[in-house]
């Protein structure tokens, strides 16, 4: 009994540690005071200021676009990877799937740098395409993780059944495989979007001069010191991410459980 209590207390403390800064941030964004002083007076002042800030708005739109494109491409690539390697032998499959996961452990600094240098050596200037590629490389593992897990769970029997009933490979794909993978593809897409949207480092290195993304704007503001407007920005982003996660979670509830379940789970 005491153990359980201890468990909950520890959990509570940990969650406190994880969430305090964020919650403080969010609360403060509604605070009138400029210096984050107490007492707290509720105010939407900073949000209003945001609405008028052209630069930030433009940056946000850029981030949204980049995120969306990255998400779509990431899902398409992850899906073809998952389905393609499914047909291959086991060794090729493990090799390719591990390869896709590689960017997860590579510090973004190094990745961004290398891409930049690659550009330079080709004589090109920073451009949008490479920026997208950079975002794609780092977000692909996330969607691949989800989609590959789904393909593995699915097994091949439903597709074989479809073939046996007379459906061509293409028909099988869009009437059986695709619908069954849809939830995973959606979550993969959401994940990729969020990774790309939040990403700072890669954008930092690869963004063409003249354009900017939201994280970059945040960074420059921070470098100058502390601006309360940033609280508002951060809060909005946090709330948006949270709702996106909620949607994803609802859609992918069973898959998330599957991700954490060990092999000794039910048949």
């Amino acid at each position: 009994m005491a153990k359980k209590l201890f468990g909950w207390i520890y959990t509570g403390l940990l969650l406190l540690f994880l969430y305090t800064p964020i919650i403080v941030l969010m609360v403060m964004s509604f605070n009138r005071s400029q210096y984050n002083a107490l007492p707290i007076e509720f105010s939407l002042k900073w949000y209003k200021a945001l609405a008028g800030n052209e630069k930030i708005l433009q940056a946000t739109i850029n981030s949204l676009w980049i995120g969306a494109i990255t998400a779509v491409l990431s899902v398409i690539l992850a899906t073809s990877l998952a389905l393609g390697t499914n047909l291959a032998g086991r060794k090729t499959r493990t090799a390719m799937q591990s390869l896709v996961m590689l960017p997860l452990t590579m510090p973004w600094l190094i990745m961004g740098l290398s891409l930049l240098l690659l550009l330079r050596s080709l004589g090109l200037d920073r451009n949008f395409i490479v920026l997208l590629i950079g975002h794609l490389i780092i977000s692909l593992p996330y969607s691949a993780l989800v989609i590959i897990a789904r393909v593995r769970d699915m097994g091949k029997e439903t597709q074989e059944a479809s073939s046996s009933l007379g459906a061509s490979d293409w028909t099988t794909f869009y009437r059986v495989t695709l619908p069954m993978m849809l939830p995973a593809m959606l979550s993969g897409g959401f994940l990729s979007f969020m990774i790309s949207f939040d990403n700072f480092v890669i954008s930092y290195f690869l963004i063409p001069t003249g354009t900017t993304t939201l994280p970059m704007e945040i960074y420059s503001s921070i470098k100058f010191g502390f601006t309360p407007e940033m609280n508002a920005v951060a809060t909005i982003i946090l709330l948006a991410s949270l709702s996106l996660i909620a949607v994803t979670a609802a859609v992918m509830r069973s898959s998330i459980r599957a991700l954490f379940k060990s092999d000794k789970g039910d048949a």
């Binding site: 941030l25 984050n36 452990t105 290398s114 690659l118 692909l140 290195f205 945040i218 946090l238 998330i256």
Partner: protein
């Protein structure tokens, strides 16, 4: 057709990793020499490693009990708590660094709160813009990784193993040391890889939270590229960082494989 689609991103990855950063240019190894000659840079390297190590160890200490609690002691609400742990993952690293900056600064909430409780003098916390702040920030970001990887290995341990150990007369500590710990070794090492390596290359958090005291290899590289325009030198440093990264990944992976072989 599908397979060719799959190959493309991999090819891109290969291309970039080949490119690496040998932009040390014509000056050959001079840049590397410059790095090694100045003790400043060597000290910096050590500092970065020490910081990463510290973050890893602290994350481990915090994460392990949490993972254990999650795997063994809490039945209901496990999924919710897991989700709660993961959610901060999805907030931008910038925002998280910034939120700590907000919290820790002199005159910030924490400072004021502690003053009220008379735990600190009126002169400010003095945490922000120190190494400590950087470490706190990094642990905050990375310990969920640890929690997850350790949790995954813990979950696989059948309760009956623990019961068997108990029935054979082992005290809880022994059970932990001889049964649980070895079986979670791979989880710990995986977590270590996910924490240590990115820490080596971090520069955002050190910059934001550490100010001038927060110089690490990452920030130096950033400077070279964006402030000083010493691209060649910066590349050299980055390459050395890459070497460090690969070396640590290699060592840790080898450890993990050995763990897998021993523990099954």
């Amino acid at each position: 057709m599908l397979i060719s689609f799959a190959v493309v991103p991999l090819f891109i990855m290969f291309a970039y990793s080949f490119q690496g950063d040998d932009g040390s240019g014509f000056v050959g190894l001079a840049n590397y020499a410059r790095f090694f000659s100045k003790s400043f840079y060597l000290k910096l390297t050590l500092k970065t490693m020490r910081m990463s190590l510290l973050v890893t160890v602290i994350s481990l200490l915090i994460a392990y009990p949490m993972a254990f609690i999650l795997a063994k002691l809490i039945a209901k609400g496990k999924n919710i708590i897991l989700m709660l742990i993961i959610i901060p993952f999805w907030s931008s690293q910038l925002i998280r660094a910034y939120s700590w900056m907000n919290l820790l600064r002199d005159g910030g909430i924490l400072d004021i709160a502690l003053q009220h409780v008379h735990l600190s003098s009126g002169e400010g916390l003095g945490i922000l813009f120190t190494q400590t702040a950087v470490i706190i920030g990094l642990v905050h970001i990375f310990c969920p990784y640890m929690i997850i990887t350790i949790y995954m290995t813990l979950e696989k341990i059948d309760d009956s193993l623990l019961e068997a150990s108990r029935s054979l007369g082992a005290r809880p500590i022994t059970t932990f040391r001889r049964v649980i710990l070895p079986l979670t070794e791979t989880g710990i090492i995986s977590g270590a890889i996910l924490v240590f390596v990115p820490c080596l290359g971090s520069f955002v958090e050190p910059r934001i939270l550490g100010g001038t005291q927060g110089s690490v290899i990452g920030t130096v590289i950033e400077d070279q590229f964006f402030e000083i325009y010493g691209w060649n030198f910066g590349s050299a440093i980055a390459f050395l960082l890459l070497v460090m990264v690969l070396a640590s990944m290699g060592i840790l992976s080898a450890l993990r494989k050995r763990g897998v072989r021993i523990n099954g």
